[in-house]
């Protein structure tokens, strides 16, 4: 269970946890709900379209969403989303390790 009270949930972070990884210029972020009852809410909020809409300058390529239904998790694979990746990016976080918190920082909309 998430320790955040049901009435105080504003962000994806309040219902889910996540980890980001990189391969070249592709970022993947896996996201898991604390409480399986929130999985539908997570799926509604984190769609491929939403990710592309929220970060158009950063996530420039295709986005895929893999659903791991029985473990209540989503895996986003975002192509051309690391400003060139660790070889080329001048972002201080050239691996995009912090991208997990980009996703967790999104507001719960519906």
């Amino acid at each position: 269970m998430s320790p955040i009270h049901r009435n105080e949930r504003n962000l994806v972070r309040d219902i889910a946890h996540a980890r980001a990884g990189d391969k070249g210029n592709t970022s993947n972020v896996n996201v898991w709900v604390y409480d399986s009852a929130d999985f539908e809410l997570l799926k509604r909020n984190l769609t491929v379209e939403r990710i592309k809409r929220e970060f158009p300058q950063l996530v420039r390529g295709n986005v895929s969403r893999y659903v791991i239904e029985h473990l209540h998790g989503l895996n986003f694979v975002m192509h051309d989303a690391l400003e060139g990746g660790v070889n080329a990016s001048l972002n201080l976080d050239s691996h995009g390790k912090s991208w997990s918190y980009l996703i967790l920082g999104l507001a719960l909309e519906s």
Partner: protein, 448 residues
């Protein structure tokens, strides 16, 4: 193979090149391990190691090898634990010879050190080879190649274990393969037993990043608290013959193993969960079962496999010159405004006065940096740091960048302080595929 072979215990004693050592010593001493894996290579680590080797042919292996081996060889010999590691990086032979020397100096006799080579495929890859997941060929890259290494699988490691090696040292051994190889040997899993190979690969994948499954890289105060992270324990996998495993850690260590820590690691750097490619198997993690037994014991099972790919992945490393970074800080009222003015000054001078050709990036740490491209900035911070960076093959440009940022101390906005500037080597890596039939791993044993 006899049915019902005993549970096999594998521990991780390093999950990346700079990982902690004290927790590894504790694990080797108290873990009753069959195997201790030290996973110390990332894609780019090998390329940096090639640069070290080019500068000094006796180097090119993990910088912490001496410390790690001095501490772990005596403990692992006493507990009968085999060490498997890719600390050899770009120079496994030098790493094995150095380990041999350390063992002799410590008075350890009868130690068998197997050195695996054959991952260095320079000369086997042609310049017109296309990159794996982006346009272009090796020939289109202007930078000089520093080295190229194929990811070797369990089939390169098992023969060395068969000869009774106490320490196996290689270069680009694929991370999960270092876990799978001793499992194949212990349980007699064959190359066509793809579900078992996938199960062993799952164990390796979960374990290879060390503390990332025992509470490291997980804590978020108030919502994901982790006990005693300063003394986090490394993970142990207790693997059964049917491929299921319990992930746990030593009692008395910090950290935690829970369903949540296992889930985050399950898909770490994984794209399609049903197709995780390694040199050993095409693993399907999409139906993995995770059962939290409490007390830092989590059981994983139900990985499935398809046959291994016909090609091996090769990382090609290029010398990309240097990365130059420099910064100055501003604090108090109007800090952000002064930081933004400093950014304008540096940009103007680097471009119009010095005519820098390389791309420059300027961040205002505290007001917007990591998420700046994603559009997230906080305009009014009272503590910001100007951070200016470039990658360039021209060292002169790097030095100019540092100079201009330092010059802000007298010529820039009011109240700037704390200049630091560094120039570090830059490398670029690309991936290509190679027909596995032409990659021929070998091993040689050194004995004390």
């Amino acid at each position: 193979m006899a049915a019902g072979r005993r549970i096999f215990r594998i521990g991780t004693g390093a999950g990346f090149a700079a990982d902690r050592l004290d927790a590894a010593i504790d694990l080797a001493r108290r873990g009753e391990l069959d195997v201790l894996v030290l996973e110390c290579l990332g894609e780019r680590t090998v390329a940096f190691a090639h640069r070290d080797r080019l500068a000094d042919p006796r180097r090119g292996y993990n910088h912490l090898l001496d410390r790690r081996m001095c501490a772990l060889l005596p403990v692992c010999q006493a507990s009968g634990t085999t060490i498997i590691t890719n600390m050899g990086a770009a120079n496994p032979r030098a790493a094995a010879e150095r380990t041999h020397e350390i063992a002799r100096d410590l008075g350890i006799s009868g130690l068998r050190i197997a050195c695996i080579e054959g991952d260095d495929v320079s000369g086997l890859v042609s310049a017109d080879q296309h990159f794996m997941d982006e346009p272009g060929t090796i020939a289109t890259i202007q930078h000089q190649i520093v080295g190229m290494n194929a990811y070797l699988g369990a089939d390169a490691i098992v023969p060395a274990l068969d000869t009774g090696a106490d320490v196996v040292i290689g270069g680009r051994l694929a991370d999960p393969s270092m876990y799978l190889a001793p499992l194949m040997r212990h349980f007699g899993w064959k190359n066509n037993d793809v579900d078992s190979l996938a199960s062993g690969t799952l164990v390796g994948h979960l374990m290879e990043c060390g503390m990332q499954i025992t509470g490291g890289y997980f804590a978020d105060p108030g919502i994901k608290d982790v006990p005693d992270l300063a003394r986090c324990g490394y993970p142990i996998a207790e693997v059964s013959e049917n491929g299921s495993a319990v992930i746990t850690k030593l009692p008395g260590t910090g950290g935690c193993v829970t369903e949540a820590t296992v889930k985050e690691q399950l898909l770490y750097e994984v794209h399609d969960p049903a197709k995780y490619l390694t040199p050993d198997v095409t693993a399907d993690f999409s139906h993995v079962q995770i059962k939290d037994h409490g007390d830092d014991r989590v059981q994983v099972s139900n990985a499935a496999g398809q046959p291994r790919p016909d090609h091996l992945k090769v990382t090609v490393g290029f010398d990309a010159g240097v990365l130059a970074e420099a910064g100055v800080s501003y604090a108090g009222p109007s800090a952000s405004a002064r930081g933004r003015l400093a950014a304008e000054i540096v940009e103007s001078r680097l471009k119009s006065v010095h005519r820098l050709k390389s791309d420059i990036r300027i961040d205002l740490i505290g007001a917007g940096s990591l998420f700046a491209t994603a559009g997230k900035v906080s305009p009014d911070s009272e503590d910001v740091r100007l951070h200016v960076a470039t990658r360039t093959a021209n060292r002169e440009e790097a030095e100019l960048l540092l100079w201009e940022v330092e010059a802000l101390l007298c010529c820039g906005p009011a109240g700037g302080g704390g200049f630091r500037g560094v120039i570090t080597p830059a490398i670029m890596t690309k991936s290509v595929l190679i027909d596995r039939a032409i990659v021929r791993p070998t091993f040689e044993t050194l004995e004390t």
